[in-house]
Symmetry: C4
Subunit: 211 residues, 4 copies
C-alpha cells in the first residue's frame, strides 16, 4: 500500500499520543498549584481568606475545562490519524508548547486586574486552536497519515471548527482591549457556541468534543 520510502519515515501514532497525554495530564494538574492562600492569611483567619480564592477557583475550573476540551479535540483528531511523520511530531510539539502555557496565563488571570491578563489568556487560547487546525491540515495534506475512511466533509470541518473558535478568541482580544476584561470574557461563551455549532455540522466525531 505504502511505498518503502514512505513507511520508513512514518510511525504509528501510539507514542506521540502517550507523550501528549502525559504533557496534558501534567499541565492540567499543575493548575492546582495556583490555588494557594496568601502567606499572610495562613496566620490569620482562614474564613476571611477563603473568599479571596473565589477568583482563583473560577480560573481553575475554567482552565481545567479548557485543557480538558483541548485534550478531547486532540483525542478525536488522532482517532483519525493512525500514522505520524517527523513533521507532524514538530507541529504537535508546538501545540503542546501552547497547552503548557495555559497554567501560566491562568495565574495571570486569577492574580491580576485590568484587561492585560484577559488579552494574554485569549491570545494563548487562539494559538492553541490555530495549532489544532495546523495538526489537522498537516495530517490531511500528507499522504498516509490520515485514515482513508474520513469523509471529505469531515476533512474540511476538522479544519474549520478550530479556526472558527480561534477567530472568536482572537476577536475577544479586541473586545477586552476596547470594552474591558469582563466584556472580553463574556465573548468566550461565543467560542463554546461556535464549537458546538461546528460540531453539529460535522457528521463524524472528528470534532465531536471540540468546545
Amino acid at each position: 500500500m505504502a511505498t518503502p520510502s514512505e513507511t520508513r519515515s512514518q510511525y504509528g501514532s501510539e507514542r506521540l499520543i502517550t507523550f501528549s497525554d502525559g504533557v496534558m495530564a501534567v499541565a492540567i494538574t499543575l493548575l492546582v498549584l495556583d490555588l494557594k492562600l496568601p502567606e499572610a492569611a495562613s496566620q490569620g483567619s482562614l474564613a476571611e481568606a477563603l473568599p479571596g480564592l473565589a477568583s482563583a477557583l473560577w480560573c481553575y475550573a475554567l482552565s481545567f475545562v479548557v485543557i480538558g476540551v483541548l485534550w478531547m479535540a486532540h483525542h478525536n483528531q488522532f482517532a483519525n490519524i493512525p500514522r505520524v511523520d517527523g513533521g507532524l511530531l514538530w507541529v504537535n510539539l508546538i501545540f503542546l508548547m501552547c497547552v503548557v502555557l495555559i497554567p501560566f496565563v491562568t495565574s495571570l488571570l486569577s492574580g491580576h486586574d485590568g484587561a492585560l491578563p484577559t488579552i494574554c489568556y485569549a491570545a494563548v487560547l487562539t494559538a492553541n486552536c490555530v495549532m489544532l487546525a495546523l495538526i489537522w491540515w498537516y495530517a490531511r495534506r500528507t499522504p498516509g497519515l490520515m485514515a482513508a475512511d474520513v469523509s471529505e466533509q469531515d476533512r474540511s470541518m476538522g479544519l474549520l471548527a478550530p479556526l472558527l473558535v480561534a477567530a472568536v478568541f482572537a476577536g475577544s482580544i479586541g473586545v477586552a482591549y476596547a470594552f474591558g476584561p469582563t466584556a472580553g470574557q463574556w465573548t468566550w461563551l461565543l467560542a463554546a457556541g461556535a464549537g458546538w455549532l461546528a460540531n453539529r455540522l460535522t457528521s463524524t466525531d472528528a470534532n465531536a468534543n471540540l468546545v
Copy 2:
C-alpha cells in the same frame, strides 16, 4: 451489534484511562510538595522543626490513601466500561477536576486550625464520590458503554456504594460544624466502613476497592 451511528460517536476507553491515570498519578505525587519545613526552621534545629511536620505527614498519608482508593474505584469501574462517548469524557473530566482539588484541601487541612479545613476537605471528597456515582450512572444508562455481562445487582451497587460514602462525607460536614473538626474527622471512619459494607453486598468486583 452496534449500529453504525452508535459506533461513530463511541471510542474504546483506553485513552481516557491513560489520561485519567496520568492526572491521578500527578495529583497523588504533588502531595509531597506540601511536606516542607518552614523557612525559619531551616536555619534552626531540624530536630525541633520535625515534630511540627507530624500533622502534615498524617494529612499526606490520608490523602495518598484517598486518591489511591479513588484510583482503584475508577480502575474497577472502567474494567466494566469498555467504551466511552463524548458525554462520559465530560463526566470523567469533572471527576478529575474534583480529584485534583485534593492536594489543595490537603494543604488547608495540614496548615490551618478550626472546622473550616475539615469542612472543605469533606466537601471535596463528597464531590468526588458523587462524580464516581455519575460516571457509573451515565455508563449504565447509555447503550453500548457498559459490558453486557455486568449483573443487574452490580449495576445497582455500583451506584449505591459511592452515594453511600458521599452521604457519610456530607454528614461529616455537619458534624464538623456542630462538634468541631476532630469529631468530623472521626466520622470519616464511617465512610471506610460504609465502603467496606457496600463492597460485601456486591457479588462482582465493580466496587471491590471502593474505600
Copy 3:
C-alpha cells in the same frame, strides 16, 4: 485454570503498572525542584552561589539513582506478576507512598546538617525495600498472581534480596546515630553491594537490577 470466583477479583497488572510508572516518573522528576539557588544569590554573583549547589546536585543524583533502581526492581517484579487483586493494589499503593516521600527526605538531606536528615533518608529507603519485599511476598502467597514458571529459588530470592538491602539501610540508621551522618552514608555502599550479591545468587532476573 482459575475458578470463576478467583478470576472475578483479579485483573491484569497493566493498569497498576501504568499508574505506578506515572507516580514514579513524576516523583523522580520533582527532584529537580530542589535544585534552586537561594533567593539572595540570584542578585549576587552566580559563580559564588553555584558551589553551594554541589551538595544539592549530589543528593539529586543519589535520589535519581535510588528511585530509578526502585523502578527497575518494580519492573522486574511485575514481569513475573501478570495478575493483581485488591490486596496487591493496596500493598503497591503503600509502596508508592514511600517512593513519593523520597523527594522530601532528599530536600532534608541536601539542606540540613547533622545526623537527622541521614536517619530520615535511611528510614524511608528501609520502608521502600520492606514494601518491595511485601509486594513479592503477597504475590507469592496468593494463588493466581505470580507466573507459574518462576522457580522456587527465585521465589525465595525475590523476598530475601530486598530484605537484605532493607537490613543494611536500617543498620545505617544506627551507624549515623552513633558515628555521625558521614559514616551512615558510607554504610549505604554496603546496600549496593548487598543488592549486587543477592543478584548474583539469583538465577532469574527477578531482582536483576535491585541496587
Copy 4:
C-alpha cells in the same frame, strides 16, 4: 533465535518507553513553573512587569524545543531497539537524569547574567547528546537488543549524529567563555545545522528528528 540465557535477562522495551515518556513529559511541563512574575510586580502594574518576562519566555520556548527534540531522538532510537537489558536500563536512567536537569539550567539561563548560565546550559546539553550516543552504542554492541534490519550505515550514523551535536555544544562552552554568552548561544544554531546534516546522510529514520 536467542538462547534461553539471553532471553532471561532481556525484556521488551515497552515499559522503559512508558517510564521515559512520563519523565520527559513531566520535565517539559515543569518548564512553565519558571514563568513567574516577580512578587513585587504582582502588586504593581502588570504591563510594566511583562516585558521582563521576554527572556523567560524565550528560554521556555528554547528548552521546550530541546526536550521535544531529545524525545523525538529517543523515540526514533527505540523504534529500532525492541528489546532492553539491565545495562540499557541504567544507561537510559542516566540519560533521563540529564534530561531532568534541563528545567534547572533553563531557570539559570533565564534569571542570571554573564557567561556561566550559558556554559551550564551547554554542558547539560552536551551530556544529553553523549548519553543518547551511549544508548545507541550500548544497544548496537549487545546482541539481541537492536532490530536486525538496521543497516550498517544507520548503525554508524546513529552514533555519529548525537556525537557531532555534542561536539558543537561542547565547543559553545569555550566560545561562551572566550567571547561571552551571546556568541556561545549563536553557536547553538550550528548544532541544529549539524543535526540536520547528519540527518541528510542517514538513509533510515533512526535520527530523523535529531535536531
